[in-house]
């Protein structure tokens, strides 16, 4: 007689703020089977391109997700710019880089917090989110929005950061980095955290690659794929090396993100140092005609915006492939064999973003 427990997991679930739906089959607490289902957040926003002018769609694009909002806008704008062959001014590229990395910082800190919450480490959650607030303050001061920045536009950016603010940010980076390192130490060294993470949800290097995983999920398994290496925005000037861990378990994925905090801080520092003067945007004339797969490295990995214009103000098609969608197959492979207690931890380890996954 199979002693199997069948439990619905989500869509409403205290540990996962977003609606994730899994049907779990357990033996005792061992996960023997898991079938995911999505679609609770599907809005159909890709189709809005047909109702919004391509310049206005930026506002929709940045609401594909409220966490890496800026990167979606960036990815979209870069795609349009590529199609329309617009060369964006350097200062805009640098500022885009700074905001991207700020987004990554706040996204990773947010994730670390949720991850800690998933492990039942309440204080660590609190600490991560407390740190995150300092990033949000910077974002609000420089863009006017905590989570939806609204500064990226086709052809450049809408707001500048004054030199005074840049200097202030630069000064704040050192103490902030110290705080991040203190936080990172807990994630990387604490025994109870290690107990929960090590050896959990292992995806081997080849599997991760073959399954099409992206971002820290891929890099945690030892594959050095990070689109920032392609040098979009200012990354080409700043010199960038992807962060890679090899173990392929939840701990490795966590370590990748922790170390990316440090690398982001470093990138911001260098971007401020090398900030060129100049205009913020160029005038956009005409309408996009052509297609392009715009790719950007988000906190969760590679996002692809496929944009196709037919010379009118409305795009013919936007197709957004987000890293979480790419990571779902890996997740499905990771879960069986975990314990029930590990389910949120494993699920969170890919840093799922249902909002942009389901669009």
């Amino acid at each position: 007689m199979p002693k199997r427990i069948v439990v619905p997991f989500g869509p409403q679930h205290p540990v996962l703020p977003e609606p994730i739906h899994l049907d779990l089959v357990l033996e005792d607490e061992l996960v023997v089977d898991v079938v995911p289902s999505i679609g609770y957040i599907h809005r159909g926003l890709e189709q809005l391109v047909q109702k919004r002018e391509f310049t206005e769609y930026v506002y929709v694009a940045e609401r594909i997700c409220g966490i890496c909002s800026f990167m979606h806008a960036l990815c979209y704008c870069q795609g349009i710019e590529h199609i329309m062959k617009i060369e964006v001014p350097d200062r805009a590229k640098y500022l885009r880089t700074i905001w991207s990395e700020c987004s990554r910082l706040h996204s990773h800190l947010l994730w670390l917090g949720l991850f800690a919450d998933g492990m039942g480490f309440e204080n660590l959650f609190m600490r991560s989110w407390q740190l995150r607030e300092s990033v949000l303050d910077v974002l609000e001061d420089t863009t006017g929005g905590r989570v939806i920045q609204g500064t990226c536009k086709v052809g450049g950016i809408r707001r500048d950061i004054g030199q005074e603010k840049l200097d202030e940010m630069h000064r704040a980076l050192d103490p902030f980095e110290q705080q991040c390192r203190d936080l990172g130490d807990v994630f990387l060294n604490d025994e109870t955290v290690k107990y929960r993470l090590q050896g959990l949800g292992v995806i081997a290097k080849d599997d991760a690659y073959a399954l099409g995983a992206a971002g820290p999920t891929l890099r945690g398994s030892g594959v050095a794929v990070d689109l920032r290496e392609t040098g979009y925005a200012a990354y080409g000037d700043l010199g960038f090396k992807p962060v890679v861990e090899t173990a392929g378990d939840c701990y490795a994925r966590c370590a990748v993100r922790v170390r990316e905090l440090y690398s982001s801080i470093d990138l911001i520092r260098r971007a401020i140092d090398g900030m060129p003067e100049g205009p913020l945007d160029v005038k956009v004339k005409g309408a996009p005609d052509g297609e392009y797969f715009s790719r950007v490295e988000q906190p969760r990995g590679e996002v692809v915006h496929y944009l196709r214009g037919d010379g009118t103000k409305h795009l013919a098609r936007a197709r957004i492939r987000t890293p979480t969608l790419a990571n779902i197959p890996a997740l499905v492979k990771m879960l069986p064999g975990a314990q029930l207690a590990d389910v949120p931890v494993v699920v969170l380890s890919i840093d799922p973003c249902i909002s942009c996954t389901e669009r």
Partner: protein, 126 residues
Amino acid sequence: MTMNEEQTTTSVALEDLVGEVRGLHDGGYRLVQIGCTDIGGSYEINYSFDKDYQFKNLRLTVGPETEVPSISGIYWGAFVYENEMHDLFGIPVTGINIDFQGTFIKTAEKYPFSVTRRGDDRCRNA
């Protein structure tokens, strides 16, 4: 744009699809995405691959009712895209390893992308 990545697009016939994909798989490419576009009466399906930031696209053009073979036998993770393709566009995909039978993305209206909806009801401030 300092976009230095190459993007190549090659058209592929329906019957060559699986073979081509296998070739890319064996060549060490990873699957980036599969996406469809409605090009008025028929669909264009893009299979995107990447290796060392070299972006390759296989492009398949099919009619509305054409059955498309699944590549999930080669790329296990392809099922997410193929289910999506089915649920949003109504393209029948055969042989998906995890076939959600149209429940992957449940929408208020069936196959919302299957009809060209451009230009309809764009009445601001209605």
